[in-house]
């Protein structure tokens, strides 16, 4: 189940629009990349070669979008086995997915919110366990940003903890999502992070978002990371150590220099935390 590739430091989400400028000359600041396997499985030609060139140089991790692990329609076993093959081909040390669903018998290609109920905990955890079985490895599950709660019988933090425990999986802690949700659903983001199972955090996501006129936040991954989210990341590091951390940027991509400055900012926060006075209890799985 263990993989020899050691993952640490700061990574960048790899979009097709930036791969052309990266595959021959990977900036030193980038310790790893992340892709959505559903964008790359069975893709060859120029794009396939560029991706292979990248995964031969630095670790590549995978962040799925179409699994619909919280959905009620049958799991797509072919997809899972193709993901397994993709992970093996690229020696990808991590696969993560969202704690959500996207399939209603057909794909909606988006991350829809699950009700925070015991029924949903049981349902999604047993499916995550099945996926892990088919993959032959653990996966990490991400706390999504959500705009409504279809039914709330427990808190979001309890929901996440219950799923991670029942499924025996890892957590991809998306710090931006914690911030977005804390604003949209009025809770204390630091308190939320305190409630997360620190020992299960495989890695962290950082991103920017869009604030509408009335303060409502839409998680677009289309803007720079804002200061309060940087502060929340520093708080998280102080609490749980410095797991590998990835910058996601899906829209309105700025110049590479700007992206790199955010990747470097992640690194510098990690290094500050890792100085002797910092509490660096975390060792990434």
């Amino acid at each position: 189940m263990k993989t020899p590739v050691k993952l640490q430091g700061a990574g960048l989400g790899l979009r097709r629009s930036i791969i052309d400028s990266l595959h021959e000359n990977i900036p030193e600041a980038i310790d790893f990349f992340e892709v959505a396997p559903e964008n790359w499985i069975n893709v060859g030609g120029r794009l396939g070669k560029q991706l292979r060139a990248i995964s031969e140089q630095v670790p590549l991790i995978t962040h799925g979008l179409s699994l619909s692990v919280g959905g009620v329609h049958p799991l797509d076993k072919e997809l899972i086995l193709n993901i397994r093959k993709f992970l093996d081909t690229h020696q990808a040390p991590l696969y993560s997915e969202h704690l959500s669903y996207s399939n209603d018998g057909g794909q909606l290609y988006d991350l829809l919110p699950l009700p925070f109920t015991e029924e949903a905990v049981q349902h999604v955890s047993s499916r995550i366990a099945q996926v892990q079985e088919l993959l032959g490895r653990r996966m990490a599950i991400e706390n999504i940003s959500y705009y409504v709660v279809p039914e709330q019988a427990m808190s979001e933090a309890d929901f996440i903890n219950a799923v991670v425990k029942e499924a025996d999986c890892d957590l991809l802690l998306d710090v931006n999502n914690v911030y977005v949700n804390s604003k949209n659903h009025q809770y204390d983001p630091e308190e939320f992070i305190r409630q997360m199972p620190a020992e299960r955090v495989a890695y962290i996501h950082m991103a920017g978002h869009y604030v509408e006129d009335d303060g409502f936040i839409v998680d677009t991954h289309g803007a720079d990371v804002i200061d309060p989210v940087w502060k929340l990341l520093a708080f998280t590091y102080g609490l749980i150590g410095t797991p590998p951390t990835l910058l996601e940027r899906d829209f309105n991509l700025p110049e590479m220099e700007q992206l790199l400055s955010e990747v470097k900012q992640i690194k510098s926060l990690q290094q500050t935390q890792e100085l002797p006075h910092g509490r660096s209890a975390h060792s990434a799985a």
């Binding site: 964008n39 396939g48 997809l79 669903y101 794909q107 909606l108 109920t117 409504v148 409502f216 839409v218």
Partner: protein, 254 residues
Amino acid sequence: MVVAPIQPPKSPLAQTQENFTRYLRNPSEVAIPEGLDPRRMGVYQNLVYENIFSLLSGFFPVMVSLFNEEKWRALIAEFIRDFKAETPYFPKLGEEFIYFLSEREAQEDEPAFLLELAHYEWVELEIYMSEENLQTPIPQEQLSNVGLSLSPLAKPLAYHYPVHQISEDFQPKTPPPEASYLLVFRNPQDDVRFFELQLFSYQLLCQITQSPGLSAQEYLHNLCPETHTNPDDFLQQGMGLISNFNDSGLLAQV
């Protein structure tokens, strides 16, 4: 008497999801699930719609350019409402859209070549992304005798409309008398190219696709009309063609 199978009652989770997604697929006719904030449900509806809109617009640049924005947006809304795309792979969404177009009844003001154009644009993308590699050319001296197959990186295509010429400024209302025969293929630089085929070349490539494993000689004999006045000429021309495809890495030995 036919007895309908008894459906087990839906679990609360299944019911919640069904209510939620029914609204997202058809927001103009389906009510927002009870108790959920309309504005926030609108955010979801917008995210689902814009994501699929931007994916499909990227896959079919020519087709998009022929629609005015409002009509294109309406077509995407119809796709989301009426079609359950199954592929989990984003690059394959274009293929799902072709299924959708082929199953639906075209509207009167839509160009008659729409489906053919969409298919052509999709094939170009499919070949661009294919995991296959070009073949090492078969040595010239063996070429006429070994069994052949056509690389998946080459697709012979026939359309009623000249889809390769269609643009905002050229939108034929009726098909020309001659069909368009095209070969779409990938070159060693991993670019996708096409050229127009003579009917004969199209038939030859279709034969190789449909019954792989015959020799060049056999394919050409099968295609040579009995009434042909100079079969040797025919064979020579045919071998020239096969030799060109072979040089481009588009033929494999089976």
